[in-house]
């Protein structure tokens, strides 16, 4: 039997270990079960029509999105009508107008439920089919006054004259509203203002009182460094925006992103937070990010932390606690 010489043996071993490297050194995969964690939202796409004549139908579609706004599915939803006697909705999202009135259509997936879409059913074109509200800002300081304007249209979208609207506030400890639509901010929080006429209600207009901004000071995580402040605020258009201060600065690697999250842990932030922007190339100074453009469901109080995250490795470099 031929034996392997002392010098041949290391060469054989070398072949074995390099083969081992090639076999085991492939890029692996970490699988995150984000569906089980419910880290997604569902939303109904803006419908072609929100008012129907009795007997008409309209097709609604929905999207399942990550918290960062990425569409991950458009199928398999549970459609719900709050008042099927006015309009019913089938499993495919087809709304069937049944009788005069209003109903809210929502869509659900797992624990996630969409914001409702208000559907109005009318008998003819003389009836009010939609009431729209507008204001020049949504955020108020305590004591501020805000005039809200209302307008009405029929099922064809034509303007209708309405002599008098009925105004209501969802919480008069926060905001009161007069018969002319003048809102007065009286307490900290948010309240929904609704106008109605002819048995038809508007979509609610949410006003924020005294909580128009939340700020936090950046601090390093695990001895990484971060400094400056982050402010989450509502702009005049009602959008939620994130602003960093001039002295903002953080440790970073390539792939460093700024997130909104309810945790400072890297994996939790990556899986369930909102990815705002890559700041690797421009990590310092004042920046403004429109959060509503990424996910319109985000409110000032939705997230607690602004997190600086190395996204590829999912390591947190720093964070600002907006509750401080």
């Amino acid at each position: 039997m031929k034996s392997v010489s002392n010098m041949q043996c290391p060469l054989l071993i070398l072949v074995v270990v390099i083969g081992f490297q090639l076999l085991t050194g492939c890029i692996g995969t970490d699988v995150v079960d984000d569906l089980a964690n419910g880290s997604f939202t569902v939303a109904i796409q803006p419908p072609a029509r929100t008012s129907l004549l009795v007997g008409e139908t309209v097709m609604l579609t929905a999207e399942r999105r990550t918290m960062s706004g990425e569409v991950i599915s458009t199928e398999s939803f549970l459609w719900i009508s709050s008042n099927p006697e006015v309009a019913d909705v089938n499993a495919a999202g087809m709304v069937q107008a049944v009788a005069t009135g209003q109903t809210q259509i929502t869509v659900a997936s797992g624990d996630a439920v969409s914001e409702p879409v208000l559907m109005t059913v009318v008998e003819d074109e003389n009836q009010i089919a939609r009431i729209s509200l507008s204001a020049d800002r949504m955020s108020l300081a305590i004591g501020d006054k805000l005039q809200i304007m209302a307008s009405a249209t029929n099922v064809a979208g034509e303007d209708l004259m309405v002599e008098e609207y009925i105004w209501e506030s969802s919480d008069e400890a926060i905001a009161t509203v007069t018969a002319s639509g003048l809102v007065t901010a009286v307490g900290r929080g948010s309240a929904e203002i609704v106008a109605s006429a002819g048995g038809v209600e508007s979509e609610p207009l949410r006003v924020m009182v005294g909580t128009t901004a939340r700020s936090g000071t950046f601090m390093g995580s695990g001895n990484y460094s971060a400094q400056g402040t982050a402010t989450l605020e509502m702009d005049n258009a009602g959008d939620v925006v994130l602003v960093t201060s001039e002295d903002f600065e953080a440790d970073l690697a390539l792939g460093t992103f700024i997130y909104l999250s309810n945790s400072t842990a890297g994996t939790e932030t990556s899986n369930n937070g909102i990815e705002i922007a890559d700041i690797s190339d421009n990590p310092k100074g004042a920046k403004t990010f429109n959060i509503s453009d990424i996910n319109e469901e985000v409110e000032l109080t939705t997230y607690r932390y602004v997190v600086i995250l190395c996204k590829p490795a999912r390591i947190t470099f720093g964070f600002a606690d907006l509750n401080e």
């Binding site: 490297q21 995150v32 695990g222």
Partner: protein, 285 residues
Amino acid sequence: MIPMKAARTFLVIYLVATFWVSAFAGGGWTQSKRSGYFKLGQNFIIANRYYQPNGEIAEITTISFFTTSAYLEYGFSDRLTGVLYFPFFVRSTLNQVEYTSGRTPIPGDAVNSLGDTNIGLKYGILPDGPVVVAVGLTLGVPLGATAGGETRILQTGDGEFNQLITLEASRSFGSAYATALLGFNNRTQDFSDEFRYGLEIGYTWNGKLLTQLRLSGVESLMNGEAEGGGGNSIFANNTEYLAITPEIAYNIRDNMGVSVNAGFAAFGRKILASPNFGMGLFYTF
């Protein structure tokens, strides 16, 4: 093209294995003239946990290092031994992250390169007697990649020129032995200098089976820039650890044997928090 200024890089954790391969082999004993020791080694670490700079462990995307290396000691004289550690193939990977929801995965990454190489001399200042003592000078040649992969955050070297001075003392107790090591590593490129220490005990069974246990530690003097390397290595500077590494070596012939080991960082900062496994084939001449 990613601008070099923005190319911050990632983790030189596999140094846990590589430094101690070269630092402890032989201990205070030097090779006899024209004799030597050669070892072909393979180390790997796969980790999804990471010691943060404050010592707390955080979950991270899985990262791995696979290092194939050659280690050589050669006696230029009975007192002077040359030492070479050459990691000639280092592969580092960063896992892709996939989501059950179907959202866009975070791509993985990989780099293949040489690793940082150690060239050194060891001199026996007390070569005889119950306790043998040797001093060593090891130069760390930065042959590894400092900004590897598509993301340029993978790293198989730190890009700086180590100058490590060591003092090792060893003593035999029949079939057993013990070695202690102290070292100072002067680092360049704004990296912090390091104090290194270690203790190794071993016992030989029937002249063929050697069991060893090593404690090896690194303490950063924290006297460099936080990011090191001109702001190029946020994860690679100020690394600290205390590693415990049991090893078994078996002589399959008089001059040849195999070894396996597993190193665990009992404490660490900026280092992967998972075991580092190694195996090797050694040959004496």
